[in-house]
């Protein structure tokens, strides 16, 4: 539904050229909820604005549905108002001189074929109902709370029934509780209406909970693109692993490659680790990443072939839903997350294990 091909954007600013987007390619299927995640200034908004036609790319090709809306090589550029898109801005961009009703009715009034007044009323009412803003129709838009403005912006985006809707950090102005409530509501609404969504955020929880597919962006390029589970479990780089959640990293060397029939072994600064990812050769130098919650205390159920790592508990922090322990292994440390009921104390000698499936080999 959305096809972005090798997108480049360069800005000419006072301090010289800024290469904000450096060859981004994205494919979003019909009805998919796609999230762009990345730290501040990595070019997410710029990419989104190119798609909307608010920014002109220096290079690349963009198609929405069957229409090529931009192609630098062929000199095609469809102006924003002719693109079949809706967008929710980070600032909401609610027009202060219009009422709630008129804000939502605006896209209908700007349609090519004139929409009858009764029809406008029906559709606006419907959209406002969907976002639970019924009864606010005649209110001047500035007299709404932050959450209400956010929902108004959403109503305006869906009333037009465009096939693609773009979100630029729409929840970042809300407080934590409201944000948590709105996340799923928003996803369900988009899914129910069958729209294709491209969602920009720098909040990892939003990305993991809402998206069908996540792309992690860094300095204008996409570092990894996968489903939320895949991205969490198999990050391809240190950057991706540490951007989403906490992670232990170590350098190591493969002593025994993994095969279809059995796990392999890696010698790391922590000690030996079993791993299951195939396709690496013996003697290869690798980086590994292990999530803290996957570092467990060894007990009776631990398989015998999984290497144990012995260390000393150096520090314990109580986080409520878990205990975060620092296990000192001589030169290096391992962070682990344990169930709060675990009977460990600072100074205890412990054996920890990591299951072969939980060891992620990094590409870089």
């Amino acid at each position: 539904m959305i096809e972005i091909d090798n997108l480049h954007v360069r800005f000419n600013s006072d301090k010289g050229e800024v290469h904000a987007v450096r060859g981004v390619s994205i494919n979003v299927a019909q009805g998919e909820f796609y999230t762009l995640l990345g730290p501040s200034g990595c070019g997410k908004t710029t990419t989104l604005r190119c798609l909307a036609g608010l920014e002109s790319p220096s290079e690349g090709r963009i198609a929405v549905g069957d229409t090529v809306v931009h192609d630098s090589a062929k000199g095609i550029s469809v102006p924003t108002f002719k693109r079949d898109l809706a967008m929710v801005f980070q600032s909401y961009a609610i027009w202060p001189h219009l009422t709630v009703f008129e804000n939502v009715a605006f896209p209908l009034r700007e349609m090519k074929q004139k929409v009858a007044e009764a029809e406008v009323e029906r559709r606006v009412k419907g959209a406002l109902e969907l976002v639970q803003l019924s009864g606010y129709e005649s209110r001047p838009a500035p007299f709404l709370s932050g959450g209400q403005q956010q929902r108004l912006a959403l109503a305006r985006a869906i009333v037009r029934e465009a096939s693609v809707v773009l979100f630029d950090e729409p929840l970042s102005n809300l407080d934590a509780k409201l944000r948590a409530e709105t996340r799923l509501e928003l996803r369900n609404l988009v899914k129910r209406l069958g729209m294709t969504a491209l969602y920009v955020t720098h909040d990892q929880t939003e990305a993991l909970t809402m998206a069908d597919r996540v792309a992690i962006m860094r300095e204008g390029v996409i570092a990894q693109e996968a489903t939320p589970t895949e991205i969490y479990k198999r990050p391809v780089s240190r950057f991706v692993a540490s951007f989403i959640g906490q992670c232990n990293f170590a350098e190591g060397k493969i002593t025994q490659p993994a095969t279809a029939s059995g796990n392999g072994l890696i010698e790391t600064e922590w000690g030996n680790l079993a791993y299951s990812t195939q396709g690496r050769d013996a003697k290869e130098e690798v980086s590994v990443a292990v999530r803290p919650e996957n570092v467990r205390l060894a007990d009776a159920t631990t398989p015998a072939d999984t290497p144990r790592i012995t260390g000393k508990v150096a520090d314990i922090v109580f986080l409520g839903e878990c205990l975060e322990c620092k296990v000192s292994l001589g030169q290096s440390d391992l962070i682990t997350r344990l169930h709060p009921s675990s009977a460990v104390a600072v100074g205890d000698a412990v054996d920890v294990v990591v299951m072969a499936d939980d060891v992620a080999l990094l590409a870089v």
Binding site: N12, V68, I76, P79, E110
Partner: protein
């Protein structure tokens, strides 16, 4: 932000690129830049070239007859150095007097518990409505040494030989011009005082500073840069003013730059010396440019965010105690002297049978016959019509052009947008008299080359006023546009609205108060400004009210001046009130006028 996308328009299928539109959109900003450049550069160029011309009249201009003679003559024979000295005293005096008065008023209104603040707050800006020439005339009627009402009354009552106060002096000039600067200075100072964060003063108090020291070390120190910028701005206004020194100084040969330049070409009984006038004008312009340059340097960094950071706190009001009533008394006196008194004086003059000291007998001769006389002159109808057309055209042109310029500067990525910004500020430093003279040369040359008759046309005045008022309008417009978030327009585009619909439905309504405000303010300036029309007026085609008042006054037709003045002031008050109701002077205009 969005321009680059909207201008590169191609059809939906991409097969028929709208090349023409593309090219037009690309070159439009350059065309605007060129236009602004031409508006500034062409007159200045002809002014400077004219300064080197040794021919006696502009239409005898020839490249063979050039030289530095004019500069020599101006410096040695005309003693321009004396004028320079006079100008400095006059500008500094008027600025200090005007700014101190405005600062006291603004402080009383914003930071004290003076009773009746609202009236002062609403009243002071109305002073904008009194044209400078009428101000000056009413001072002459009151304080001219022999026949001024006040001086006559004083001599009559005390039997004194000399007048109480002679307005035809440097002190008189400073007093009259200082008062005239107050309204705009007040409008600029009020937001400054309001934006003072009281916690800064409280922090000083908590650190153990006495109230006196807090005021000196914190309050004044924080206000100083802003007050300095406003002072320089007002100094430019005083430097460029012609009406006050023209009425109060010129008759007694007390010259400042603006009147000296005018005097060189309009001196009754002497041969006009155009080349010398140009040479003097070049000196004059250079000084104005230097002052403007300092102003620009001073505000370059602060201006952009002064407005946006305006937080909504109410600073603590200082208790005046026993001084509350003297304070409101003084403020009311200011309103009376600067607004009510000129009106009353002119009203009296317009109604009294013949000009005499106010008395019971004089009141008995009141009638509307001077108004009738004024209306019975066929010339008046034409002048009115000219004035109204000029006002409408100037205000509309300036508003439209400033909108386009501000849009390019604020909202597009046009390469030369900073150049355009600076260039549109340039005309701010061209005094009206200088521009009048420059356009005079340009139009005379143009007419003799092409056979057209631009000189003496109303259009020439529209061009002149557009140049003069553009800087102010662009500033006010940019500040307002910066406050409209670009997302508001982008959102409309995404809703399927083509650019012109976005302009009509989103941009225009949000900017409407600013557009109307600028329009009215420029309209008021066009009525008030007489220096430029004085030089460019030629025959009845482009005679306007200000010029007519000037010539009636010089011919001693004082009763008619009163009648016209009263009508003019009433119209101006109506405009000023509209401006206040729009809240314009309070926000946008206040910081950028």
């Amino acid at each position: 932000m969005n321009n680059s996308a909207s201008v590169s328009a191609t059809d939906m299928d991409g097969k028929r690129p709208h090349n023409l539109r593309n090219i037009a959109a690309k070159f439009f900003p350059w065309a605007v830049l060129l236009l602004v450049f031409a508006l500034v550069a062409a007159p200045i160029f002809s002014l400077v070239v004219g300064a080197f011309s040794q021919s006696r009249l502009p239409n005898e201009f020839s490249l063979d007859n050039m030289g530095l003679g004019n500069f020599h003559a101006v410096w040695v024979e005309q003693r321009i150095d004396l004028v320079l000295w006079n100008t400095a005293v006059y500008v500094i005096g008027a600025t200090v007097f005007g700014i101190s008065t405005a600062a006291v008023l603004a402080w009383l209104v914003e930071r004290s518990d003076m009773p009746g603040k609202m009236w002062i707050y609403a009243g002071v800006p109305l002073g904008i409505a009194v044209p400078g020439i009428l101000h000056a005339i009413s001072w002459v009627l009151l304080l001219s040494p022999r026949s001024g009402f006040v001086n006559r009354g004083w001599m009559h009552m005390t039997g004194a030989e000399g007048p109480l106060f002679d307005i035809y002096t440097m002190t008189g000039l400073i007093f009259a011009e200082g008062l005239r600067l107050v309204p705009v200075a007040f409008l600029m100072l009020v937001p400054l005082m309001r934006s003072m964060d009281p916690s800064l003063e409280e922090a000083a108090a908590v650190s153990g500073a006495s109230p006196m020291r807090t005021t000196r070390r914190v309050t004044l120190a924080l206000l100083l840069p802003g007050v300095l910028a406003i002072s320089i701005f007002q100094a430019i206004t005083a430097l460029e003013n012609f009406e006050i020194p023209g009425i109060l100084g010129m008759p007694v040969n007390l010259h400042v730059f603006s009147t000296r330049v005018f005097n060189l070409i309009e001196n009754i009984g002497a041969i006009p010396a155009f080349g010398q006038a140009n040479a003097a004008a070049v000196f004059y312009l250079a000084i104005a440019l230097v002052v403007s340059f300092f102003y620009l340097r001073l505000v370059r960094h602060s201006e952009r965010y002064t407005i946006i950071t305006g937080k909504g706190y109410t600073p603590r009001a200082v208790r005046l105690g026993a001084w509350r009533y003297p304070a409101i008394g003084a403020a009311a006196l200011f309103l009376f002297v600067s607004i009510v008194l000129p009106f009353l004086v002119l009203l009296y003059v317009s109604l009294v049978g013949y000009l005499r000291q106010p008395s019971i007998e004089a009141f008995q001769t009141f009638s509307f016959k001077h108004y009738a006389t004024v209306f019975n002159q066929p010339r008046v109808g034409r002048v009115m019509w000219n004035t109204i057309s000029l006002t409408l055209m100037s205000a509309t042109t300036v508003t439209a052009l400033s909108f386009v310029i501000a849009y390019i500067v604020v909202r597009t990525r046009f390469k030369a947008r900073y150049t355009l910004d600076v260039m549109s500020f340039m005309p701010h430093s061209i005094p009206g008299i200088v521009l009048g003279l420059a356009l005079f040369w340009l139009l005379v040359q143009f007419d003799s080359l092409t056979g057209a008759s631009t000189f003496g046309s109303l259009g020439s005045l529209v061009v002149g006023f557009t140049i003069l008022f553009l800087a102010y309008a662009v500033r006010a417009m940019s500040v307002a546009m910066i406050q409209v978030h670009p997302d508001l327009e982008d959102a409309a585009k995404l809703c399927g609205a083509p650019p012109w619909r976005v302009a009509i439905r989103i941009f225009a309504p949000l900017l409407m108060p600013t557009l109307v405000g600028i329009w009215i303010y420029v309209a008021m300036l066009s009525v008030r400004f007489i220096s430029l029309p004085l030089i460019l007026s030629q025959g009845g085609n482009n005679e306007v009210l200000g010029v007519m008042i000037w010539s009636l006054w010089n011919n001693g037709n004082i009763n008619s001046v009163g009648a016209i003045g009263i009508m003019l002031m009433s119209a101006m008050f109506a405009l000023a009130l509209t401006l206040r109701i729009l809240g314009f002077g309070k926000t946008t205009g206040g910081t950028s006028v």
